[in-house]
Symmetry: C2
């Protein structure tokens, strides 16, 4: 029985080949044969590692998510809440070439999840992780006295979540823009503005925390 340890390693390599194909030619081009050729193996072998085409895409998407989670989890804690939140948020943005490629894969599989049930559950899980990360950031600002006392934390978390996803999309699609500094400035501006909120919108008579979510840790 040959090397049985590399099984996961080989799957990882196939997933990275999938990334390259998606970034280069789009998710539609990421067929079993194409990815196999990119990775230098036969289609039959790929099918042995991933039972179905969906499995391959799900694994490729999950690997993107895992890496992002690992990156954030390995960040050193900072005494200053604002600096720490800025650092975490910036880490979630595609500010360099590597993360931009990952985000490209992420967004491509995101929309592809509309048709694929397996992909959709992975996508939804990632969305919840991202939401919880935003809640954590708002909470961190609050405990660091860098959040307006009267702020609706859940609302601010959702606002930050939307801002981050929007920035990520714009950074990814503004292709040639080699200078993502403007995104950092938008981020600093937003986080800074949370400290001294304007007048609360004296909210409409709605429930305090509307959107449906379920618990999860970090990212």
């Amino acid at each position: 029985m040959p090397k049985l340890i590399d099984h996961d390693e080989r799957r990882r390599q196939l997933a990275e080949a999938t990334w390259r194909v998606i970034v280069r030619d789009g998710v539609a081009a990421a067929s079993v044969r194409t990815v196999a050729a990119e990775a230098g193996v036969s289609a039959g072998s790929l099918r042995h590692l991933f039972g179905t085409h969906s499995d391959l895409l799900v694994f490729a998407l999950q690997l993107v998510i895992d890496r992002a989670v690992a990156r954030v989890a390995s960040m050193p804690p900072q005494p200053d809440a604002v600096r720490e939140v800025e650092a975490v948020a910036a880490e979630l943005l595609p500010l360099d070439r590597e993360r931009r490629a990952e985000t490209e894969v992420y967004l491509a599989l995101f929309t592809a999840a509309g048709t694929d049930d397996d992909l959709r559950s992975t996508r939804d899980m990632a969305r919840r992780q991202m939401q919880d990360a935003c809640r954590w950031m708002v909470g961190r600002l609050a405990e660091g006295a860098a959040l307006d006392a009267g702020a609706d934390r859940e609302l601010e978390a959702l606002r930050l979540y939307a801002l981050l996803d929007g920035l990520a999309a714009h950074l990814t699609y503004d292709a040639a823009d080699a200078d993502p500094e403007w995104a950092r400035r938008v981020l600093r501006r937003h986080i800074g503005s949370l400290a001294t909120s304007g007048p609360q919108p004296s909210a409409a008579p709605g429930p305090p925390t509307p959107p449906p979510t379920t618990g999860d840790r970090d990212r």
Copy 2:
């Protein structure tokens, strides 16, 4: 020579059939044959109306954009700047079923534009229109004295732009969520917070308005 007036009308019908297919089965399913069947015509006829598959998708995307532009353009002006900006911004969000379907098509073709050059140019044009709309909104707030005097308008426009796109994506992908009221609240919170900005981030020594843009009107 039979009805030559309906030519555009028929193209419009085909584009709407394309929307239905994309919303139901994803952009990958929007082939020439499938769309033709959805519209009740033969594939040969479709090909006569749209020379190529890309032409069909570009036209379908352009129609989404045109409708959004028309919706905003037909809005009555309001004396109060905050209310007007809130109304325009809310109009750009997929808050009802119809606009959610349009946004779904928009986002699907958005990522498909990564592979299709014709689609990409249409996408980039839409992005610039959306950016300019955000600049207009920030300017409208300023002239209505509803924007902090020291605010960096270009920065705020980019921030609003990211927020709107993020909200649109979240509204679209949070499928079952029948109550989009939370998005309205986030929007009101954001626009309200622009009036009394916190301390400006005492910006890094970068250029004042970094991202590359070119002029265009409304939406």
